[in-house]
Symmetry: D2
Subunit: 300 residues, 4 copies
Amino acid sequence: MKIGFIGLGSMGSAMAPHLIAAGKPLTVHNRTEKKAESLISDGAEFAHTPGGAAQGEIVITMLADDAAVEATVFGEDGILQALPKGATHISMSTISVALAERLAAAHAEAGQGFVSAPVFGRPDAAAAGKLFIVAAGPAEVLDTCQPVLEMLGQRTFFFGEEAAKANLVKLSGNFLIASTIESLAEAFALVGKAGIDRHAYLELLTETLFSAPIHKTYGGLIADERYTPPGFTAQLGHKDMGLALDAAEELQVPMGMASLVSERFLTLMAAGAGDLDWSALGKLAKRDAGDDDAPLAAKG
Amino acid sequence: MKIGFIGLGSMGSAMAPHLIAAGKPLTVHNRTEKKAESLISDGAEFAHTPGGAAQGEIVITMLADDAAVEATVFGEDGILQALPKGATHISMSTISVALAERLAAAHAEAGQGFVSAPVFGRPDAAAAGKLFIVAAGPAEVLDTCQPVLEMLGQRTFFFGEEAAKANLVKLSGNFLIASTIESLAEAFALVGKAGIDRHAYLELLTETLFSAPIHKTYGGLIADERYTPPGFTAQLGHKDMGLALDAAEELQVPMGMASLVSERFLTLMAAGAGDLDWSALGKLAKRDAGDDDAPLAAKG
Amino acid sequence: MKIGFIGLGSMGSAMAPHLIAAGKPLTVHNRTEKKAESLISDGAEFAHTPGGAAQGEIVITMLADDAAVEATVFGEDGILQALPKGATHISMSTISVALAERLAAAHAEAGQGFVSAPVFGRPDAAAAGKLFIVAAGPAEVLDTCQPVLEMLGQRTFFFGEEAAKANLVKLSGNFLIASTIESLAEAFALVGKAGIDRHAYLELLTETLFSAPIHKTYGGLIADERYTPPGFTAQLGHKDMGLALDAAEELQVPMGMASLVSERFLTLMAAGAGDLDWSALGKLAKRDAGDDDAPLAAKG
Amino acid sequence: MKIGFIGLGSMGSAMAPHLIAAGKPLTVHNRTEKKAESLISDGAEFAHTPGGAAQGEIVITMLADDAAVEATVFGEDGILQALPKGATHISMSTISVALAERLAAAHAEAGQGFVSAPVFGRPDAAAAGKLFIVAAGPAEVLDTCQPVLEMLGQRTFFFGEEAAKANLVKLSGNFLIASTIESLAEAFALVGKAGIDRHAYLELLTETLFSAPIHKTYGGLIADERYTPPGFTAQLGHKDMGLALDAAEELQVPMGMASLVSERFLTLMAAGAGDLDWSALGKLAKRDAGDDDAPLAAKG
C-alpha cells in the first residue's frame, strides 16, 4: 500500500515517520521542501505538488486550516484530480464541518473514498504515536484505512458513515478544552487575588475531582503562568471556536459558553497576544482582576 | 476528646457514623430528632439545642446554608455562647466567605478556635469516608482537628491560617464543577442534535482527555439524560454560584463564565426545574437547541 | 440620467417608485417579474437579467443578502460585465463588510464606480421617502449619486471614501437596535413577572429617558406581545449579528453583548420561531422567566 | 405641612431648595452639617439626628445606599421611632427591592405611611426641578405626598400600592441605561477602530433612530472619551446592577445582559477605574479592542 502524506508542520512531521517505520512506501509533500529533508533521508519520496503525493491507495492531509485544505484538494495539481478512483483521502486536519461535507461530496462524485480523521493530542503525542483519532466515513473505506490510522494513534474512535461528523466531534472537543481553560483562568484569578498559593490550589484540583489530562496540562500552565512557547496558540483557539460556532449555527444549537470563550480569545488577539499559548486566558483573567499590571503582550 | 456534630442531612448523617466508629463520645443535634435515631442507637447522645452539642473539645457543623449556620452559631442556645474557651468549631458546610470571616472573628473574640473545613464529595463519598477536605485556620487549632478530619475524609488539603480561605477554595471548586457541567451540556446538545450517539461520545471524552471524576459523573448523567433523583440540585448550584460571585465581587475579580452559569441555573429554577440535579443544564441546553419539546419540569 | 434598480422585495418595491416620480428613466430587474408589474405600468422597463438593468449611468441593488448580491454582480449576465465604464453601482443592501470591499475592488478594476449606501428604516419609511441613508465611496462618485439618494431618503450621512465603511456603520446600527431589543426584553420580563402593568411601564420609559424611535417601536411591540407579522425577522436579526461579529473579528474588536444577542436570536430559531419579528426576544425572555408556558413557535 | 429632608449629597442638596421655594417649613439632616449651610441660610432648620428631621407630616430620604437608609430608619434616633403615627416617609433613594419591602412593613406596623419614590435624572435635573419620579404606595398616602413630589420633579409616574414596585421599576431603568452604555461602548469601539470619525457616527445615531436623552448623553461622553468628572460612577453602576440582579433572582428572572454589564463594571473597578463615570465602559471596550494602550485608571 502506497501512501502520500501532505503537510509537514509540527503535527505532520511528527506523524509521518510512523508510516516509514511501519515499512510503507511514502511520498510526502509540503509547501516548503526543507521540512521534508529528514523524511527523505529516511526513505520518503518528495512530490512537488499535492497531486504528486496522491498517486497511491491513500493520501493523508494534515494542514493548518480550511484554506490550506481547499487549495490542496481543489487547486491546480490538487488531490481531487490526481487521486486514482477507489483510492482514499484521509483528512486529519481540524477543519470546518462544512468543508468536510464538501470534500466528502466531491470525492464521492470522483469515485474516490473520503474519511475524516482529526486527532486529539499535541506534537509530542504525535511523535510518540499516542494520538487519539476520531474517524468517520463509509464503513468499507474506514476498514481500509484503519491499519494506517493504527500506525499514527493509540486508539481510533468511530462516529459513523458521515465523515463530517468526526469533524464536529473534534470541534466540540476543542470547545471543551477551551472552556476548561477559561474556567481554570477565572478560578485561579479568584483564588490568586485572595493570596492563595497557586500550586497548592493546583494540587488540590488535580488530586481530587479535576484529575484529567486537560486539568493537569492547562492547570499547570496557568499555575506557572507559563504561556510561551505556545503548544497551541490563542489565535488557533479562536479559529476553532469560530468553526465550532459555525457548526452550532448551522445546526441551530445556541452555545453561550462557546461564544464567551471565543470573545476572550479575541481579546487576547486584540492585545497582540494571539501567539501566546491558548492557556493565556489565565493571564487575561488575572489582568482583568487588576492583579497583573503588565501588558498582555510584549511590545513589538 | 468529646465531639459534637450538628446537622444530620444527607451529608452529615453519612459523616457522623465515622466518629462513632472511631470510638469518640459523640453528641449530635439536628432540628428534627428523628434523623438522629440510628446514631443514638449506635451510642450517640442527642442534644436538643446547638449549644447542647457544643460542650466538648470540638463541635462540627454540616448545615445547608448561611442562614442555618448563622442561627446555629449566633442564635439562642447557640454554639457561640455554649462552646468552652479553648474548644474548637469546625465548620464543614458550604457557606459564604463573608460568614466564615464573621465566624472566625466571633470565635476568636470568645477565646474559641475556629476552622473552616468544607468538603468535596457527594453523600456516597461521605459514607465511604472518601471525602476530600479543604481546611484552613490557625496552625495549632488545625493540628488539634486533623485527627478528627482524618476520620471523615480520605485527605485534607490545607490553605493557611485564615479560615475563610478554605471556603473560597471550596466555592471556586463548585464553580469549576458547574462550568464543566455547562460545557458538557452545550457539547452534548451540539453533537446530539447532529445525530451522534451520546454514549459513544461520552466514551471518547472519558477515555481520552476528559477522564476526571467530574467528566465521568456529569458526562454520564447528561449522556443518560438522568436528572432525577438529584445528587445536588440546580437550586443549590445556583446558590453556590451566588456565593462564588459574591466573593468575586468582594475581591473585585470579574468572572464572566460564573455569571453565565449562574443565569443558566436560574433559568432552570424559573421553569420549575430547580430541584433536578444540577446536571440538568444538559436538559436546558437540549431544550434551547430545539431538540427536546418536553417542558423542563413536570407540572405540579 | 438612466437608472437601473435591482431587487423588488418589500424594501426595493417601496423605493423604486420614488425614482419614477422624479422623472428618471428606470429599468428594473427582479428574479420574479410579477413584482415589477406596477412599476412597469407606471413606465419602468423590465430587464430579464441584472446586466440588462445595468446599461445606464447608475444601477442600484437592494437585495436580501450577500449571496444574492454576489450572484447579481459576479454571475452570468451580471452587473460587473454589463455596467459601462464610468457608470456607478450603488449597493443599498445590508451586506458584509468583506463583500463590500470585494465589490469596491472589482468595480474599480473594471473602471466603474461603486458606492455603499445601506439604509435605516422599515418598508413604510421607504415608501414615504423617509429612509436614512449611510453612504461611503469616492467623493466624486458620491457627488454624482447624491441627487439619486435624495430621491430615496430623507437624509444621507457620509462616512468617507471607503465604501465598506458605510456597511460597517449600518451593521453597528443593527447591533444597537438588537441590543436595545434584548435589554427591553429582559426589563419587561422582570417588571412583568412582578405584576407591573406593561403599558404603564412603557409609558414611563418612552416619556422620560427612553424616547427614541427604537424604544417606541420595540418597546411597543414587546409591551403588546405582538410579534407577528414580522417587520424584520429574528432570523434576519441573527444574520446581521453574524455580519457584525464577522466585521468585529476581522478588526479584532471583542463584542460580548453582540455575541450574547446573537445567541438569543439563535435560540428563537432553534425553537422554530425564527420568522417572528426580532422583537420576539421579548417572548423568549418571558418564557425563560417561567412566565409564559406557551411554546415559542406554533407547531407546523 | 412640615417636611423633613435627610441626605444632602449631590442629589439631595439640589432637591431640598425646591421645598423651601415652595414655602414649606423644612428641617434637614445630614451626617455632616456643613452641607446644610446654604439651606439653613435660606430658612431651613438643622436636625442633628434623623429622628429630629422626622417630626412633621412628611420625611424624605435621599441617601447613597441600603446601608445608609437602614441606619437612618432603624438606627438609634432614627426615623422609625421618631415619626408620628399617620405621618409618612418618602424614600427617594435607589435602594433594593428587599429593603423597600422591609421599610413598608416596618412603617405599616408602626402606623406610619411609606412611599417609595425613586427618581430618574442627574443633579442638574434635580436642581432644575426636572426629575422624573417613580412612585408607589397606598393610594391615600400617595395622594398626600403628591403635592410634595410635584415640587421636586416634572412628572410622577405611579406604579400601584406596593411601594417596592417603584424600586423595581427604578432598578430596571438603571439596567436599561447601563446596557445602552455598554452597547454604545462596543459600537464605538468597532467603528472607531475602523477609523470612522466618532462624532460623525454620534450625529448619525442621535439624529436618526437613537435620539433619546440616554443616547445623546452617553453617546456624547463616549464620543468625547470624557469620563471624568463622573456624573454617576462605574462603582455605583455596579452596585445598581447588583440590586437589579438581586431582584431578578428573587423573582427568578434570568437576565443575561444584566450579568454581562455587571461584570464589565467590575472589570473597571478591578482596574482602579471605579470612580470614573459609568460611561467609561466605552474606555474599557476600546482598551479591549487593543485600540487604547493607556491604563484604565491613573496610578494613585
